[in-house]
Amino acid sequence: MDYTRELPVVEGRPHPAELDATIAAPLDQFPTRTWWIVLAVTLSFLSFGAFCVGMTFYKGLGMWGINQPVAWGFDIVNFVFWVGIGNAGTLISAILFLLRQRWRTGIARFAEAMTIFAVICAGMFPILHLGRPWLPVYLMPYPNQNALWVNFTSPLVWDVFAVSTYLTVSFVFWYVGLIPDFATLRDRTSSSIKKTIYSVLSLGWRHSNRHWQHYERAYLILAGFATPLVLSVHTIVSFDFAVSVLPGWHTTIFPPYFVAGAVFSGFAMVQNVLIFVRQAFNLKHIITLDHLEKMNKVMIVTGSMVGYAYAMEFFIAWYSGSQFESFVFLNRALGPYAWAYWTMVSCNVIFPQLFWFKKIRRSIPFMFVIGILVNVGMWFERFVIIVTSLSRDFLPSSWGHYIPTMYDIGILLGSFGLFFTLILIFVRILPVVSISEVKAVVEGGQPSHH
């Protein structure tokens, strides 16, 4: 292989009109039978989740397995898990944009959409956890008749700001990227209803270079601000734990450790879903094997960082000389939740090491299975952190054991149902690849003196 020149981001030299046709194809056809079957499956998960959420609304949090001392159970585990999944999208669209990684263009739109859906899933859990989930407005600081304010020095309030800002900014980023594509779709559709919808959504975009100039600057500004935002979101989520005094939570390694884990699981999820998308919509020349390989490389880096964090936690537990810290970590590896701990270690640290082999890195079945394992492992990581620390804290007299109920599991399944339902709808009604960005990185797409 010739490594002296950069590989083309898009394979072949597709004509721009061909790209339009390929990317817009799913939007113009009636969905296939497979799509309906998959939608039926995800909708059944979603309805089961909705039933469990409804019971939680009606009967209260007693339906869940949480109690003293483990007052944070599946709800917070799922929240952290989904926020982590959501971290990949804006990382791809913002950080990789600033680093001029042109390969991001093929996957950025999809990853951004995934971010928004994952953050929606994530946001559901703390609200359900409120106990009176119909009053989430109390989380926001607003002048009210009770003359009360939220506690601005609490990490839980920081979380409200971090997650809602992240959702809003990700949505703005996504929508700004969609504007030129809406205009392209508007100009190629023959249906008048679609045309009206796309016209409104495109806001009247004319592909004018007097507009592109500001547009590109706005994109740069968004990327510049979204980059620290991506890092801040999971940092602040980790503060929920790190700012407390519980052994196993009260550590300064949490912010970088959480961010690395979030990128790790987010990339695994993007990679998993893209494998199906590129197959189903004939996008193999736009989302190439090189893209997937690059994502696998990101996973091996972040997976090793996570592995380093696991080791460092043990070292610090011993080095601190605190008997509570040492106990918590020994208890994680050898205690009642040891099965969860070793699931986490093998899925997050051991299996991803297979990506050192190029053959495995480029093999679709292998990377798919490892991607799933990574997400299983990352889910268990949050479970281990939250449940083991809470169930065995300072006083043995207040120890407890956490067992989730059907409603806990139902809401977890429901969140997966919601996520994949939104993705299935998204791939049918919006272009999964940014048309204007991909056209710009096709060979010959830019003037020759550049």
Partner: protein, 379 residues
């Protein structure tokens, strides 16, 4: 058929190199009101078109500063002035805790307001009735062609010359774009019945939804605001007890705190003999006695216990307490009268606590001595 106005002359080009060249030529030829439309941003186009750098970054800076300052200001005011809370013994104004929220608000304002500024101020969007919309030219530049559009309001515009110029620099599909004033104004009529209708419908839907959510939905089960609870409440019926009463009477013979049964009922002399005032004649006791006397006794007995009632004959006046009889009574007798009542005077046992009654007795003694002072008392 309405009058058609010429908007611009357009030409299409096939490659990015051609459009860069064409833009440079157009700028050189002295045209200023022209636009280049490309399906994606072409590198180097700003320079070729002679565009000034965008000022969007300045707006973003201003929004960022507003976000950071307002977030810190709100948190400062709330935590140190309006609603101070002691948390972990830290100072009210503990700035490190403000960093995350100040950062998030800054990013939020920059992202949202920069995009809104770009769309509204720079693009003048939404505008879906521009003359170029729906032209064959727009359909091509949306997909795979690069186009130049030289507008009719350019000072150097001359239709024939522009067509000639575009042909010379290699443009294909040269075409004129027209617009109809009626069409352009259509979207901007404030009193268009459709627009008014949409506004009215939106108002109706929003207010209706708000009403249903905030006045109905939020008060349905299970959102009962904890008003409906399965516990037993006083004053409510209950099926648990035979008598169907929720609130239970105390067990027979229960003695409430501070309400020991009075053993000298109907025996004033024995009370006088056996009871001893447990309170000393201290300033505190006398102040308390004065306060209770003025509250409960003075309406009938008068402020100085002379029997000068303030009730103006609506209730029989009691005799003065400065009579020899009362002055020679032991404390227990006065206490007995307050507790039991006498003639038309009712019992005050339920209004005045035992200690307060004794304090009143002490105060009455003071009044008696003051009203009948001896020479020796004045020395």
């Amino acid at each position: 058929m309405n009058e058609q106005h010429l908007f611009s002359i357009t030409a299409l080009f096939e490659t990015p190199d051609e459009i860069i060249h064409a833009a440079q030529e157009t700028q050189k030829a002295g045209y200023t009101h022209f636009d280049v439309n490309t399906p994606y941003p072409v590198h180097g186009m700003d320079r070729s078109m002679g565009l000034k750098p965008t000022r969007l970054g300045v707006f973003s800076l201003v929004f960022g500063i507003i976000g950071a300052v307002s977030a810190v200001a709100l948190m400062t005011w709330v935590t140190s002035s309006d609603y101070p809370l002691v948390i972990g013994g830290k100072p009210f104004w503990s700035w490190p805790a403000f960093v995350p929220i100040a950062f998030e608000v800054t990013v939020l304002l920059v992202a949202v307001l920069s995009v809104v500024t770009m769309i509204v101020l720079y693009f003048k969007f939404p505008n879906i009735s521009h003359p170029l919309h729906d032209t064959p030219y727009m359909k091509r530049v949306s997909s795979d062609r690069f186009g130049i559009s030289i507008e009719a309001d350019d000072p150097a515009f001359n239709e024939a010359a522009v067509r000639e110029f575009l042909k010379k620099i290699g443009g294909k599909d040269i075409a004129a774009v027209h617009y109809d004033l009626e069409d352009l104004n259509h979207g901007q009529r404030m009193f268009d019945p459709k627009f008014i209708g949409v506004l009215a419908l939106t108002a109706l839907l929003v207010s209706g939804a708000t009403y249903i959510v905030f006045n109905q939905l939020l008060f349905m089960e299970p959102f009962s605001w904890m008003m409906t609870q399965s516990k037993l409440k006083a004053q409510r019926p209950s099926e648990l007890f035979k008598d169907g009463i929720g609130m239970r009477p105390p067990v027979e013979g229960t003695v409430a705190r501070g309400f020991l049964p009075y053993p000298f009922k109907g025996k004033p002399d024995e009370a006088g003999k056996n009871l001893v005032n447990p309170l000393l004649s201290t300033r505190d006791v006398l102040d308390r006695g004065k306060s209770k006397f003025l509250t409960y006794c003075s309406p009938c007995h008068g402020n100085f216990a002379r029997g000068d009632s303030r009730l103006r004959g609506q209730f029989p006046n009691p005799p003065t307490l400065h009579s020899d009889k009362v002055r020679n009574w032991p404390d227990g007798n006065i206490y007995h009268v307050i507790t039991e009542g006498q003639n038309v005077m009712p019992s005050y046992a339920s209004q005045i606590s035992r200690d307060d009654r004794w304090a009143i007795v002490r105060y009455i003694r003071v009044l008696q001595r003051a009203q009948n002072a001896k020479e020796s008392d004045l020395k």
